[in-house]
Amino acid sequence: MTTSETAKIVEEASEYKYGFTTDIEQEFAPKGLNHDIVKFISKKKNEPQWLLDWRLNAFDMWKNREHEMPEWANLKYDSIDFQDIHYFAAPKSDEEKPKSLDEIDPELLRAYNKLGIPLKEQEFLAGIKNSHKVAVDAVFDSVSVATTFKDELNKLGIIFCSFSEAVQNHPDLVKKYLGSVVPTNDNFFSNLNSAVFSDGSFVYIPPNVKCPMELSTYFRINAANTGQFERTLIIADRGSYVSYLEGCTAPMRDENQLHAAVVELVALENAEIKYSTVQNWYPGDKNGKGGIYNFVTKRGTCLGDNSKISWTQVETGSAVTWKYPSVILKGDNSKGEFYSVALSNNMQQADTGTKMIHLGKNTSSRIVSKGISAGKGQQTYRGLVNVLPNATNTKNFTQCDSLLIGNDCGAHTVPYINVRNELSDVAHEATTSKISEEQLYYCRQRGINEEDATALIVNGFCREVLKNLPMEFAVEAKKLLELSLEGAVG
C-alpha cells in the first residue's frame, strides 16, 4: 500500500469516527469568549439544542466570575487573559509550527530518547510541522487494534467512545449524568470547561458487566487537539467494574498553555471504578518557560450502596498543577481511595490532593499522597476529609508523605478535617523527609551511582502508590519518575 493510500484510509477512518475533524483544518473561531463562540463550538459539533443551552448557561455563569480566578492555591503564575485564547481548536498554521526537532527543547528530546519513543512519534508529540499525518500513519496499527477491542466491548454492551460521539448516539445518558457530579459552577475552571469543552471520553458499563480490559485513551486516537478542555464522563451501572487509564508517559508538548479538563465518574450500587492517570505534560524548560498550566476538576460520586471509586495518579508534568480528584461517598458502605505521586522539579509547582465527602453510613476512605520536590520545585498537598452528620461509622485514613531532594525546594501539607459525626474514625499521618546522605552513600558503596540511587529511593518512597497502577503503567511510571528527576542531584 502506498503512503497516500494509507493516509486516505486513515482519513476515512477518522472521518467516520470524528465527523468534523477535517473541517477544523479549514475553519476555526477567532480568539476570545462570548455567546457566538459558544454557539460556534456547539454547531461545529452538531449538538442538540439542550446541550447548546447548557453551554450558554455555563458561559453566563462564568462571565460573572471571569476576573475571579481562584487564588487560594499555593501557586504563582502570570495572570491569564481569557479573551486572548482560541476556544475552538485553532491548529497552528504550518508557518508557526517548529519545522524540525532541531527547534525543540533538547531536554524534551532527551526524554523522548530515554523513553524509547520512535522518531516519527517524537515529531508528533513535539508538534512539528506536517507531523500529524505521519503520526496518523504511525498509529494506524493501533486503529485496527482499537477496532478489535471495540467489537469485544460492543458484545458486552460497553460504550467507549469520544464524548462528541456519545452526544450523538447516547444523548439520554449524557443528558442524565453530565454535570451531575461536577456542577457547572462548581469552580472557575469547571465553569469555563462547561461552556467550551472540546472533547474527551465517554464510558458506560452496563449492569453486572466487568469490563474485561483496561480502557485506555491510547486506543482513542482522537487525542490531537482535544487536550485543552477535555470532558470525560464514566458511568458504571449496578454491579459493574471498569478500570480506566488516562494519559501517557511521553512528555507531550502543546501550543495551548492553559488546560482545564473536567472528569466525572458515577458508580451505581455495587459498582467499582478505578481511574489511573499518568500526567506528563510539558513542564517547561529549566527556567519554567513554556510549560502547561493544568487546572483539572476530577470527581466521582459513589451514588449507590457498596460502590467504590479509586483514583491513582502519577503527576510529573506541567509547569502548574491544580488538581484534586475527589469522591462523594453518598451510598452506604461506599469506599473512596486516592493514591497520588506528584513530583515537582526545576520550577514546577503542584497544588494537589483530594476531597473525601462522607454522606452515607459506614463509608470509608483512604488517602495516600507522596509528594516529591526537587530543584526549585514547590509541592502542596491540600486535602479535605468532610464527614457529614448522617455519616455514621465513617472511617478515614490519610497518609501524607513528602520527600525533599536538595535545599531549594519546598513541601507543604494543608489538611482540612471536618468531622460532624461523633461515631467516626479519622486518622491523619504526615511525614517530611530528605534523602539522607547515609542512604546515598550506602547505595553508592554497592556500585549504584548517585542519580540511580536517588531514583531508587524515590521509587521506594512511592511504592505504595505505584503498586496500584496496572502493571505496564507502573513500569512506565517508574521510568518516568527517574527521568523527571534527572539533574535533581549532584
Partner: protein
C-alpha cells in the same frame, strides 16, 4: 591489593587518622583491632570513598591505582566492598531488587551484560539458605525492620553475591548471637582465597578465632601501635588495650 601510605584524615579539624601506613597483600586476611572511637570506621569509610572527610596527607592505592579521584561507586565497581557497621534502611525497595540493581550497575561499569534474572534469583535463594536466612527476606524492604543480626547477615549476603576483591568488614560481629556468628564466619572463610583480601575490623576475639587472620594490627587514636600474627589476638584478650598504649 591495598596500600595506604602516610594517611592523615580529620573531621571538623580534629585529627582522626594519623600518618597511617598499612599494606594488605592479595590473598591475605588482615585484622584491625582497636577500642571504640579509635577511628576504625573512619578508615573504612575513607577507603570506600565516603565524602565529608578532610584528607590532609597521604595516598591510598588499590591494585596500584590511586583511588582518591574515584567516586564510591567506581571504587565499588573496581572491587572494594564495605560491610557497614550500621547498615542503612531504604523503605519500599525489596532487598533482592536493590542487590540486582547494584550488581547490574557494577557489571555495566565493567562493560558486562545485565544479569539473567532467573539465575540471579536462583543464586540468591541458595545463598540465603546457606546463611540460614528465610527466603522471605529477599522480598522484604532493604534492611527495613531487620533485626540487628539480620542486618549484619545481609551485609555478608550482599558481599557473597557481589564477590568483591577487597572485603572490609566493619564490626560485622557486634550484636550477633553465637549461631549467627558461626554462619557468618563460615561464609567469609569460605569466600576467602588467594585472589581476594579481607580487612576485618573488630574489637572481639571471637570472630578472629573462626577466621584466623594472617596479620593483626592494634589500632589506637588513628594509628597502628602494634603489629603481629594471630598470637597478638590472644595477647590482647589477656591483657587488654591498655598494655599496648
Amino acid at each position: 591489593m591495598l596500600e595506604i601510605k602516610n594517611l592523615s584524615v580529620s573531621v571538623q579539624n580534629k585529627t582522626i587518622i594519623n600518618s597511617l601506613n598499612l599494606k594488605i597483600e592479595r590473598g591475605k586476611k588482615v585484622a584491625i583491632m582497636g577500642p571504640n572511637g579509635s577511628g576504625k570506621s573512619t578508615l573504612s569509610n575513607v577507603i570506600a570513598g565516603k565524602q565529608g572527610y578532610q584528607i590532609n596527607d597521604g595516598q591510598i592505592f588499590f591494585n596500584d591505582i590511586n583511588i582518591f579521584d574515584l567516586d564510591p561507586e567506581e571504587r565499588a565497581a573496581k572491587g572494594i566492598y564495605l560491610a557497614f557497621q550500621y547498615p542503612v534502611e531504604i523503605p519500599g525497595i525489596a532487598n533482592s531488587s536493590f542487590l540486582r540493581t547494584a550488581l547490574n550497575s557494577i557489571r555495566k561499569y565493567n562493560g558486562e551484560k545485565d544479569l539473567n534474572t532467573r539465575e540471579f534469583l536462583e543464586e540468591c535463594k541458595n545463598l540465603s539458605k546457606k546463611l540460614n536466612l528465610d527466603t522471605s527476606f529477599l522480598s522484604r524492604d532493604l534492611n527495613t525492620g531487620f533485626s540487628g543480626g539480620e542486618k549484619k547477615k545481609n551485609e555478608i549476603f550482599h558481599m557473597l553475591m557481589i564477590k568483591p576483591k577487597l572485603c572490609i568488614l566493619d564490626e560485622i560481629d557486634s550484636g550477633l548471637d553465637i549461631d549467627a556468628l558461626k554462619v557468618i564466619s563460615d561464609g567469609v572463610s569460605e569466600y576467602s582465597n588467594e585472589n581476594n583480601s579481607l580487612l576485618i575490623i573488630t574489637h572481639y576475639q571471637r570472630l578472629l578465632e573462626y577466621i584466623k587472620p594472617d596479620e593483626v594490627h592494634i589500632f589506637n587514636e588513628g594509628k597502628i601501635i602494634k603489629s603481629g600474627d594471630y598470637s597478638l589476638v590472644e595477647k590482647l584478650e589477656e591483657k587488654g588495650y591498655q598494655e599496648f598504649v
